[in-house]
């Protein structure tokens, strides 16, 4: 039942917005990334650095101003069911039940009704929500909603899963629990994951590699591999060392991003 996963390559992607005053705003400087099939890449960076912009381009919601992104050999030109996404605000369909949400992508892939239900239930079991299949979305807590959203994203077997600060709105304990659940699903299915966050511990808990982005206009400042075996204990010395390193990088960028903002205010 494990579908294929594919490599994702980002080649010289740039993005320039037109601001309200008409002046061009550079959101992304040329970004280059080679993400292996089945790799878990986490992007961290100060807020407003363009990590979400990059993720939206990878999802196909926006065209880059320059460069291109490829999944395997295919150039990304628009949204596709082969690239699933998990959003910070869950984005569940409130008119469908829990299992209806998980079946949505399968239905679009024309999976027959009975099989669709079986697959959806299997993914709901993976996130521990099999007993909530017929519930309405608005009956669920935030953590449960995000578990449904994760099941919904994985169920149609996309090669790539994009996650935009998926646990950003959740409390610390729920967050830890969901990180564990996500890792288990990822290890089982080996999808290529691109995960955006601004939590340093979260990045170290999840990532094969971490890409640190600079302040706006964003580019990749540093790539680090996390050579710790799962499950990673947040209290271990090596975890702490990685945290320290990452914070040092980010602090520098944060200082720069405040300088950029101050510059904007003066201008």
């Amino acid at each position: 039942m494990t579908g294929s996963s594919k490599p994702l390559s980002v080649r010289g992607i740039t993005k320039t917005y037109q601001s309200k005053t008409g002046a061009p705003v550079r959101a992304l400087q040329p970004i280059n990334l080679e993400i292996a099939a089945g790799e878990f890449l986490v992007i961290v960076g100060p807020s407003g650095c363009g990590k979400s912009t990059l993720l939206n381009i990878l999802a196909g919601f926006g065209e880059p101003s320059g460069g291109e992104a490829r999944v395997g050999d295919a150039r990304i030109t628009g949204p596709d069911i082969d690239r699933g996404m998990v959003f910070q605000s869950y984005a569940l369909f409130p008119w469908l039940s829990v299992v209806g949400n998980v079946e949505f992508g399968l239905e679009r892939k024309r999976v027959p009704r009975r099989e669709r239900r079986e697959i959806a239930m299997e993914y709901l079991r993976m996130v521990g929500l099999q007993d909530f299949a017929e519930r309405g979305i608005n009956e669920l807590s935030g953590g449960m909603k995000q578990r449904v959203a994760i099941a919904r994203a994985f169920a149609p077997q996309p090669s790539i899963i994009l996650m935009d600060e998926p646990f950003g709105a959740l409390d610390a304990l729920t967050r830890r629990f969901l990180q564990g659940q996500l890792l288990r699903i990822w290890q089982q299915h080996k999808k290529t994951v691109v995960f955006v966050t601004h939590s340093v511990p979260e990045a170290i808990t999840l990532a094969d590699r971490i890409a640190v982005m600079t302040a706006r206009p964003g580019r990749i400042r540093k790539m680090t591999a996390v050579d710790l075996s799962h499950p990673r204990e947040a209290t271990s010395d090596r975890f702490r060392d990685s945290e320290r390193e990452l914070y040092a990088e980010l602090d520098e960028e944060l200082a720069r991003s405040f300088a950029v903002e101050a510059g904007d205010l003066i201008a």
Partner: protein
């Protein structure tokens, strides 16, 4: 309460029975029309007109509203026409309706169509515009990559709570408009019952017609409020 005031007015002003009959007399006329089935015939005819017009409107205004809410360019093209016709009361269309369709069914259905059109259209547009863009994105990455499937599987259900509100409001405006249309030109319907009561100086008949309009209005509003709650996912 109403009955007490009514009785009081009669006791104080002593109006002629053809202008304001006592409640007992109105009630007995209600019973007469009820028992003879005449009341049902008129009510049924009025309802049938409103329902058919309301469905025609829904079939036009909902797709149009979806398109206008979804495509900014399409909205810019169509909106000026909508804005010109919107302030014109549906009742102002009655003379034209009579000229074009005579006093047959088509004219009255037409007037109700006009009356129900704008509430339905505007609620549909508002419903589409209020959709969280992230839901659209979610639909796209789950396989709704073309406009028709996106409209059918995401935009329409997401806007449905607002559309149901529009249908409820428009049923109310349609119900008001059909009475007006029947007052002017009809040989049947609740509006006709009222107009006829006036012509033959039978205020009791007029009152029975009015009571029926009020009762049904309340019933339908309650029904739609129930539907609203059923489709209230937009609120939470």
């Amino acid at each position: 309460m109403i009955v007490i005031v009514w009785q009081l007015v009669i006791a104080l002003f002593r109006p002629h029975v053809s202008l304001l009959p006592p409640p007992v007399l109105a009630a007995s006329e209600f019973w007469t029309l009820f028992a003879s089935g005449e009341l049902f015939v008129h009510t049924g005819i009025s309802l049938a007109r409103v329902f058919s017009a309301w469905m025609i409107t829904g079939a036009i205004a909902i797709p149009l509203g979806l398109a206008m809410g979804w495509s900014h360019r399409f909205e810019q093209i169509v909106d000026p026409f909508v804005e010109i016709f919107r302030p014109i009361s549906p009742l102002a269309w009655i003379p034209l309706a009579i000229l074009w369709f005579g006093i047959g069914e088509a004219g009255k259905v037409f007037v109700v169509c006009v009356a129900t059109f704008f509430p339905t259209l505007l609620s549909t547009i508002a419903g589409v515009k209020r959709i969280d863009p992230v839901l659209v994105h979610a639909g796209q990455v789950l396989g709704c990559t073309d406009q028709p499937s996106l409209l059918r599987k995401v935009i329409f259900p997401a806007a449905l709570p607002s559309i149901v509100v529009g249908l409820r409001i428009s049923f109310g405006t349609g119900w008001a408009a059909i009475i007006a249309a029947e007052l002017v030109a009809a040989r049947s319907g609740l509006g006709y019952l009222i107009a006829n009561g006036m012509e033959i100086l039978r205020a009791d008949k007029v009152l029975v017609g009015m009571a029926m309009i009020g009762i049904l209005g309340v019933c339908f509003d309650a029904f739609f409020r129930f539907l609203n709650r059923r489709f209230a996912w937009g609120e939470a």
